[in-house]
């Protein structure tokens, strides 16, 4: 009997396996329950249509722009619906509402202790840093053209505007698949985060930064533009001969010849390292939205290619959101705040999340930043004019990127140098013609809207 009794410990292994399995599961629950519960299709969290079954999304002024309980209900007017669509996602899931999904766990009030039982006590609330009125201003200013407009506070990181066009009214969905006019091409793409553009001359700010940091005595640097220059057997051209130029004038007049030469003087390695530090090729994560990385690839590039790359052509690509943070960094003296979209998440009356301003990495030296600030302010004073930006100290650079034989992407990026309105901006208009004349009015209207919003807070 004794030997049988000792053999019975073999059977005890089964009880132990059962208990050990339970323990393992409890650990897995502690680690992953939040993922399980917010996985798409989770029955207590999503409706049959796949939308979150609780909560509202509000803009920075408290305007409800989405209510998700029992299906999605968008804002009252069509323009706001269209202007905020890419942030919120459409009903069909063609545009994923990634922000809401990222915070779903907090919105449903899930915690590992109480599960989703807080949903019964009232849904969640997600407060965005976006201003719905500014979004509509931006969409109106784009006036049917494709592109994107982004504005963020480089001191706090709040994104006030991140519009993408073309868009549509989710309550009145057009026949996008059957559209032949091309007006809805890429309507599902959130251009601000998920597209890269050939930057054109706004990229000269990167080359300028590299020059300021790496070449001695840029203040006394000069260049004589004859309208074209030959580098390694190929010609770089300017629209016209700019004559003798200081560094400041070269940027203001956006002289291709000067920046082509500068780029070659700096060399591949320096250009690559500066572009890399500025983050052109990195991907940012903004509340669940990951930016598409840009491109600055000089492998196999000849001197002429290097020159064009320094002008923002060649194979250069930048992501609008990422480039916006470079503007913020210049404005903030070398390192701006990291951008974010969600300021607060609540469930019922409990605040589950509050955003905090986070300093981003240093993208350029303070000296270079200050120098660029002055040069960009000079651009506005002398070239773009202050008509669109009354009473504001604007620093900016425009670009007209050639992307086809007769197709230009108009770009315009910069910031307001003002303690009260620490805003950086970027405007991209596809097939937009000349940079500043297309984009400056848009930037002006949007910044005016932002200033009004900040004044009202």
């Amino acid at each position: 009997m004794k030997s049988i009794a000792s053999r019975s410990y073999f059977a005890m292994a089964l009880s132990c396996i059962l208990l050990f399995g339970l323990l393992t599961f409890l650990v897995r629950y502690a680690l992953y329950a939040d993922r399980w519960v917010t996985f798409s299709g989770s029955p207590h969290v999503y409706t049959r249509e796949g939308t979150l079954d609780t909560g509202v999304v509000k803009d920075r002024s408290g305007n409800t722009i989405l209510s998700t309980a029992h299906g999605k209900t968008y804002a009252d007017n069509a323009l706001t619906r269209s202007a905020t669509l890419h942030l919120l996602g459409d009903r069909e899931g063609n545009i994923p509402g990634l922000v809401v999904r990222t915070y779903a766990q907090l919105l449903v009030g899930f915690d590992k202790l109480n599960g989703t039982s807080a949903m019964e006590e009232g849904g969640g609330e997600l407060d965005l840093t976006i201003s719905a009125p500014v979004q509509t201003i931006a969409l109106q200013a784009l006036d049917g053209r494709k592109g994107t407009v982004g504005v963020y506070n480089y001191k706090t990181g709040e994104i006030l505007c991140a519009v993408s066009a073309p868009t549509f009214d989710p309550d009145n969905v057009p026949d996008i698949a059957g559209d032949e006019t091309g007006q809805y091409d890429g309507a599902y793409v959130y251009r601000f985060f998920h597209t890269t553009y050939t930057p054109g001359s706004i990229f000269k700010l990167v080359t300028a930064c590299a020059a300021l940091e790496n070449l001695p005595d840029m203040e006394s640097w000069s260049f004589t533009c004859t309208g074209s220059t030959v580098i390694n057997g190929e010609t770089i051209t300017c629209p016209r001969a700019h004559g003798e130029l200081s560094f400041r004038e070269a940027l203001a007049r956006s002289c291709n010849c000067a920046f082509g030469e500068l780029s070659c003087t700096l060399g591949k390695r320096t250009m690559e390292s500066v572009a890399g530090r500025i983050g052109v090729e990195s991907s940012l994560s903004v509340d669940g939205l990951r930016t598409v990385p840009g491109q600055f690839d000089l492998s196999g590039a000849g001197d002429n290619d290097l020159a064009w790359a320094g002008i923002g052509q060649y194979t250069d690509l930048v992501n609008p959101c990422q480039y916006l943070t470079y503007m913020g960094a210049i404005a903030a003296g070398g390192a701006g705040a990291q951008p974010y979209l969600v300021s607060r998440a609540k469930c019922g009356t409990t605040v589950k999340y509050t955003a905090e301003a986070k300093q981003g990495p240093r993208l350029l030296s303070e000296d270079a930043a200050v120098a660029l600030q002055q040069m960009m302010a000079y651009n506005v004073e002398t070239i773009y004019g202050k008509d669109y930006f009354p009473d504001l100290t604007i620093c900016a650079k425009s670009g007209t990127a050639e992307v086809g034989s007769d197709s230009n992407t108009a770009t315009f990026a910069g910031f307001i140098l003002d303690e009260r309105y620490p805003l950086a901006f970027i405007v991209v208009v596809e097939e937009g013609g000349a940079g500043s004349s297309t984009c400056a009015p848009i930037a002006g209207a949007v910044l005016k809207g932002c200033v009004n919003v900040l004044d009202g807070e």
Binding site: L14, T24, W36, G41
Partner: protein, 574 residues
């Protein structure tokens, strides 16, 4: 006046039933469950295994050796029950066995002609009190335990349930059952109320009847039944949440299960009866499986159902009971006939039938049970390893060549990649477990009840969603406690028949729980086996109560179990 009245009204609305539920019941149910299971577990796992003395062996030196089992190996080996540390004595020399009528026999097992009774060489012989037993020249006399001595001994042993009043535990369980019923009534449609009242009323009454019935025959160990009743309660509430109309069927099944429990329990009181039942049961197992093969109907992928007069039934569940009878064996048989060929053949037949029926989950249960029995009987890991390798190979071939098996295994470990497809059940299960949190969304408030077979296959998730993860964990712990208790009791087992049967029964229960729970949470492929007592299913419920009888039969604590006869003179005074 009016404002005050309105204020009062508002206050009352605030205090709606749902609010009460939210704050009180949600916590109260798992806390009560914890108490019930903890009290039972403490009693079952911390008792001192006190041996029963059935006779004495007086050596020539005057030394008295207690005979503490019905079956005793006498030998030089340390693991012998009566150790005679003399060089002339064999390691396993003889087996001293107590027969049901109180007489003793001695059998020479390894000594080859060195066993003598009253000077006469024997291979197998009865041994009367006062007879001189001589092992390799070492003389000893078998002496009776007198009636007075037996009474004293019984009184000296700790009575089952001492310090952990089973009555109090049952009262706690009753409160738990009432609150469970209340909780269901609150969340389900009012039309179902009578069904809930009836079902839980009957359940509570049955529990107390069982308790007082055992009191009448002076048995006080009620922890095993308490755990079973607790699990049955959870199962009944799950059924009530998913399909209130099925509760009646489940209750009837529990009733039949209780009858099986009592019949098997009483039949196990004497070994002779158990041995007789043994062959009958083995034959019944074969018959059940054959009937199943001929008349079986496919349901949920396995052809293991038969329909009888409007009732569906899974014969393979009852075969589990037969299998235990076939596998359990007395020590004398184990030591003399080492050969397990017949049992292996029997297992092969059962396994073959199940594979034909496409019921791989149940086949796995029988296989584990077989391994446990085989090891208990042989103690031989090498042989077990060979069997494992053989079956593993067969399993591989099955997986390789049977497409439906492949399909079942395909999602295993990858459920999140196919959440709408093969991983649907498990992903929903995990989502719902998370939604429930530690305290659940409330009985009847779950979503899993809309998933097919969730009240059987996904029971762990079902309970976690509606009652909370704590309750689901308690449910598993409760079952595991039964398993641990069996092993603890093995030390003071009367006969290896009981020990093997109890280990086999518990290994079936544990394997079912392992396959069921681990399948739900994607630790193992989903095999669709039931969780004992909890899963909705008549045959499964009956089998679970039947298995419990074997566990009762190994409970040799003083006055513990109705399935164990009180030692000769009627046991301890009340």
């Amino acid at each position: 006046m009016e404002p005050i009245v309105n204020l009062f009204k508002d206050g009352m609305e605030e205090l709606s039933l749902l609010t009460i539920y939210g704050s009180v019941l949600r916590i109260a149910l798992p806390v009560l469950a914890l108490f019930v299971v903890f009290r039972s577990a403490r009693s079952l796992l911390t008792f001192r295994p006190e041996p029963e003395v059935w006779a004495w062996l007086r050596l020539a030196t005057g030394e008295l050796l207690p005979v503490t089992h019905w079956e005793n190996v006498i030998g030089r080996k340390k693991s012998a029950d009566i150790v005679l540390d003399f060089a002339t004595v064999s390691k396993n020399h003889a087996v001293l066995t107590r027969q049901d009528d109180g007489t003793w026999t001695i059998r020479d097992v390894g000594a080859r002609g060195k066993v003598q009774v009253n000077g006469k060489l024997v291979g197998y012989a009865p041994l009367a009190y006062g007879d001189t037993l001589s092992l390799a020249g070492l003389d000893m006399v078998l002496e009776r335990v007198s009636g007075e001595e037996a009474r004293l001994q019984a009184n000296a042993r700790t009575r089952a349930g001492k310090g952990n009043s089973p009555g109090l535990t049952l009262i706690l369980l009753t409160v738990f059952q009432l609150l469970t019923m209340l909780s269901l009534c609150m969340h389900m449609d009012a039309e179902h109320l009578p069904k809930f009242l009836l079902a839980f009323g009957v359940l509570i009454a049955v529990g107390w009847a069982l308790f007082f019935g055992q009191k009448l025959i002076r048995r006080s160990g009620f922890e095993v039944e308490t755990i079973a009743l607790f699990l049955t309660t959870v199962g009944l509430a799950v059924t009530g949440s998913k399909n209130p109309d099925a509760m009646e069927k489940q209750l009837i099944a529990m009733g039949i299960g209780l009858v099986i429990f009592l019949v098997i329990g009483f039949s196990l009181r004497t070994l002779e009866r158990a041995q007789k039942v043994r062959y009958l049961a083995a034959a019944a197992g074969v018959a059940l499986l054959l009937v199943n093969l001929v008349f079986g109907v496919e349901q949920y992928g396995a052809k293991n159902w038969i329909y009888l007069g409007g009732f569906s039934f899974q014969p393979s569940e009852l075969v589990k009971l037969c299998f235990i009878f076939a596998g359990a064996s007395t020590l004398e048989r184990i030591v003399t006939r080492r050969n397990m060929a017949l049992f292996i053949l029997y297992t092969g037949f059962v396994g073959g039938c199940l594979v034909i029926m496409n019921d791989f989950g149940t086949a796995a249960i029988f296989f584990v049970c077989f391994l446990v029995i085989a090891y208990l009987r042989s103690g031989n890991f090498a042989a077990i390893g060979m069997i494992l390798a053989g079956v593993g190979l067969a399993g591989l071939l099955a997986v390789r060549f049977l497409p439906h098996v492949v399909r079942r295994f395909s999602a295993w470990g990858h459920i999140w990649e196919v959440p709408l497809d093969a991983g649907f059940q498990q992903t929903r299960a995990l989502m719902c477990i998370a939604s429930g949190g530690l305290f659940g969304l409330g009985l009847g408030n779950g979503w899993l009840k809309y998933v097919a077979a969730s009240d059987t296959d996904l029971i762990f998730a079902f309970v976690a969603e509606e009652w909370g993860l704590i309750m689901a964990a308690v449910m598993i712990v409760a079952l595991a406690v039964l398993g641990l208790f069996v092993v603890r009791s093995a030390k003071v087992g009367r006969s290896s028949f009981y020990t093997i049967a109890a280990c086999a029964a518990m290994s079936i229960m544990m394997t079912q729980a392992i396959l069921n729970v681990f399948g739900t949470v994607d630790f193992l492929p989903l095999t669709g086996v039931t969780f004992p007592f909890v899963s909705n299913g008549g045959s499964s419920m009956m089998a679970a109560w039947g298995l419990l009888a074997f566990i009762k039969a190994c409970d040799t604590r003083q006055n513990a179990s109705f399935a164990v006869k009180l030692s000769d003179k009627g046991g301890a005074a009340a």
